[in-house]
């Protein structure tokens, strides 16, 4: 049911882990629904230089987490923010209909991390 690309990212997920001194952290989903995604970003000069994730969830949740780290690294924060769940699914060569909500989660987690980064930035410059 999953594409080869999904299975590749599921089997060899890229960028698993945490970033101790992350510039932004986002967490979405909840255990009740069976999907939690936590995502750390490192930003240098408005460019995302590193992303790491940890995910509790199904195959699609893990694969979308993995691929979105690859999609985000190297992009400016503004560019990364426009990544949609549609794009994530396309990048994985499609997802089963019942699994489309998982691709939402990955884009949401990235968005949450960027928001956290922005909030930190604002409070830093405010202080």
């Amino acid at each position: 049911m999953y594409s080869d690309k999904v299975m590749d990212h599921f089997t060899n997920p890229r960028n698993v882990g945490e970033i101790a001194d992350a510039d932004g952290v986002g967490e979405v989903g909840n255990a009740r629904c069976g999907d939690i995604m936590k995502l750390w970003i490192k930003v240098d000069n408005d460019v995302i230089t590193d992303v790491k994730f940890k995910t509790f969830g199904c195959g699609a949740a893990i694969a979308t987490s993995s691929i979105i780290t690859e999609m985000a690294i190297g992009k400016t924060v503004a560019e990364a923010e426009t990544i949609t769940n549609q794009q994530v699914a396309e990048e994985l060569h499609g997802l089963p209909a019942v699994k489309m909500h998982c691709s939402n989660l990955a884009a949401e987690a990235l968005g949450a991390a960027i928001q956290d980064y922005r909030a930190k930035l604002a409070s830093n410059s405010a202080s």
Binding site: A31, G34, I36, M37, K54, F56, G57, C58, G59
Partner: protein, 385 residues
């Protein structure tokens, strides 16, 4: 190691002897069992013989056996059939929270038609207590439906005791025996049941065929109206090959059941003991009242499907909750009813053994699972390993 199939509760590979018994009815003996000429009479005789076999194995009379298209149809036929036939007697139906969806959804579908439904809780081992059943019974209760053994956690229910209570009360009693047919002795007299449904593909027979036992004198409004087949209780040209296959599969299972159950119980316990060594692991369901082939565990901090995919990559076929509800995203209603949290229920794994299962397979599985669990936990934001 070649592929390992450990999902016998989802379906089983058909036995060669069963296929051999079926083949003539796909070939020269293709007649419609309702026809008067030779082809029809021979097909009819094959049905008669299959019916006798099934009836004998259930301790029933031949005319109490209705052939169906499987377990789901059987459950729907029993439940809706009784509901509509006896609605003037009462409109209350009792079932349990851990039934297969074929039973649960059949019962719930009747709510829209003005029936009143009581869904009984189970204890943390997944057992329905006869006392709870007794309390739930009302003067207008017409039917109680409690499964013989659960398909997810393998818990065997006290059907005989529940049946006695229901009969005493004057209601009808259906049991979904899809998981026990071919495994446990099914004598409808001993079990105190009025209706019992089973499905061939769970016992090394073909998919798309099953049987419903309906005690003499118990009326059923047909689910499928039409031709006069099955004594007007189930219309449709009979699936002769499938029915012959069902009877053959049941017959073989009965012969081997004793020795096979012993063998499986040993393997099952070896597997359970091995899995229990993994930290933060919970075995689900009673360890005493349990099918000989069922293992069901929850690994905390990880999610079931990603475990299944990893097992598949290692050549191990297993399931997380009931295979036929895997289209759903909710965690198992059975585990939730047993008091597990959503979080933990999401991490359930079911391994169900069968005729092909060997000790070597068990040991291979016990070697691979801890690695997979650890790997997924390392990836999990919930795990503070």
């Amino acid at each position: 190691m070649s592929k390992i199939y450990m999902d016998h509760a989802a379906t089983t590979p058909m036995r060669q002897e069963v296929l051999d018994a079926m083949l003539p009815y796909f070939g020269t003996e293709f007649g419609n069992a309702s026809s008067v000429y030779g082809w029809g009479r021979r097909a009819h005789q094959a049905l008669d013989e299959a019916r006798d076999t099934v009836a004998e194995l259930l301790g029933a009379a031949a005319n109490e056996i209705i052939f169906t298209s499987g377990g789901s149809e059987g459950a729907n036929m029993a439940i809706k059939g009784i509901a509509w036939a006896y609605q003037t007697k009462g409109k209350h139906i009792v079932t349990s929270a851990i039934e297969h969806h074929a039973v649960l959804d059949s019962v719930l579908s009747l709510k829209k038609h003005g029936f009143d439904v009581t869904v009984l809780p189970v204890d943390e081992e997944g057992l329905v207590s006869p006392a709870t059943v007794e309390e739930a019974l009302r003067p207008d209760t017409i039917l109680v439906s409690i499964m013989h053994a659960n398909n997810e956690v393998g818990t065997i229910q006290p059907i005989r005791e529940i049946g006695a209570i229901v009969r005493e009360h004057g209601a009808f009693f259906h049991t979904d025996a899809v998981q026990t047919a071919g495994v446990l002795d099914l004598n409808v007299g001993d079990l105190n049941v009025d209706l019992l449904s089973l499905s061939a593909h769970k016992l090394y027979g073909p998919k798309g065929v099953g049987a419903l036992y309906c005690r003499k004198g118990v009326r059923l409004e047909p689910l499928i109206h039409g031709g006069a087949q099955e004594r007007r209780r189930r219309a449709g040209t009979e699936n002769v090959a499938g029915i012959v296959g069902l009877a053959k599969a049941l017959e073989l299972a009965r012969q081997e059941q004793g020795a096979e159950n012993e063998r499986l119980t040993t393997l099952r316990d070896r597997l359970i003991q091995g899995l229990q060594k993994i930290p933060a692991t919970k075995v689900n369901g009673s360890l005493v009242h349990r099918l000989p082939n069922n293992v069901n565990v929850c690994f905390q901090y990880i999610e079931g499907e990603s475990m299944l995919l990893n097992l598949d990559l290692k050549g191990i076929a297993a399931s997380s909750g009931s295979a036929c509800t895997s289209g759903s995203l909710d965690p198992s209603h059975v585990l939730l009813a047993m008091g597990l949290t959503h979080e933990i229920a999401h991490g359930s794994l079911r391994l169900t053994l069968g005729r092909s299962t060997t000790e070597t397979e068990i040991d291979y599985v016990l070697q691979e699972i801890p690695v997979i669990v650890e790997r997924l936990r390392q990836m999990s934001p919930l795990y503070q390993g």
